[in-house]
């Protein structure tokens, strides 16, 4: 992997981490687990712009660092489950959803993200009680997913200078 690529991926990871940390401070939705997921703008962007391996690296580095910086180590299992589900789903969906409909794959990613977290929550708590929040998570997830997806779409349309750096 070329140094330039590494720097680019590291920059994206850092961006996602910054967004994630800022977002931790502005949770206004009173539903447990519901978040805007703004950091996923970077994820969606990476899914469409980079290879599977590179995207996975960005996302897992972000989740790991986010958990450490966020000071909530016990949340790592939820974050990871969400990330794995979301990433797998989006990478699969990417094959049929063209660039024009990024918002759609972002919504699907958001739904899968919440699904993964709920499944883990059910396993960890050994209780189905958390399932009752699931519909609310789906609704907020769809809205937030559409928003982050549109953000990513505008980003990609700008076509950030990728090619002019050919050395």
């Amino acid at each position: 992997m070329r140094a330039q690529k590494i720097a680019r991926l590291a920059l994206l990871t850092a961006l996602a981490l910054i967004i994630f940390i800022i977002e931790l401070r502005i949770d206004i939705i009173p539903i447990p687990g519901a978040k805007l997921g703004l950091a996923n703008i970077i994820t969606v962007y990476a899914v469409y712009k980079y290879s599977v391996k590179e995207t996975a690296m960005i996302v897992f580095a972000r989740v790991l660092l986010g958990v450490i910086f966020g000071g909530n180590i016990s949340a790592i299992i939820y974050s990871m489950a969400g990330a794995v589900f979301c990433l797998t789903g989006m990478l699969l969906v990417k094959r049929i959803v063209p660039l024009k409909y990024i918002w759609l794959s972002s919504i699907i990613g958001a739904i899968l993200h919440n699904t993964g977290q709920i499944i883990v929550a059910v396993i960890v708590m050994r209780s189905l009680a958390v399932l009752s929040v699931y519909p609310f998570l789906i609704i907020t997830g769809c809205v937030a997913g559409a928003f982050t997806g549109l953000c990513a779409q505008f980003l990609i349309r700008r076509n950030l200078p990728e090619k002019e750096n050919k050395n």
């Binding site: 966020g70 016990s74 049929i96 759609l104 789906i138």
Partner: protein
């Protein structure tokens, strides 16, 4: 718009509407006045809110950590806790049967229960 995209949009719309239906159903108020406080899947308190006096008590978590449960005017909520996310506090008062107050870090759930209603 390809077939795949249409299909996926259809699926998303379907999931979304099902979620809305369930969410609306979940918002209905509970008729029961009994609540149970569950820690680590064990019921540790069972209270009748209509008869409880206003008070605040602390639930300790064996591995360290606590939640302050507040009862006021027949409503129950978590008023303070040392968990990192404070989701349980933000949930506010327990209103619906289907939305329990959950503190994931402390494995604590406060929810309405039917079983005590007849007693």
């Amino acid at each position: 718009m390809t077939k795949g995209v249409k299909l996926l949009i259809g699926i998303v719309v379907l999931i979304f509407s099902v979620a809305v239906v369930f969410a609306v159903m979940g918002l209905k108020k509970s008729e029961s006045t009994w609540v149970e406080i569950v820690q680590n899947n064990k019921v540790i308190y069972k209270l009748d809110l209509s008869e409880e006096k206003d008070r605040t008590f602390r639930i300790e978590y064996p591995d360290g950590g606590w939640n302050d449960v507040q009862i006021r005017d027949g409503h129950i909520c978590i008023s303070d806790a040392d968990c990192p996310d404070h989701t349980c506090i933000k949930t506010g008062e327990l209103r619906s049967e289907n939305i329990p107050i959950v503190c994931l870090p402390h494995k604590l759930v406060i929810r309405f229960s039917d079983e005590g209603a007849g007693k």
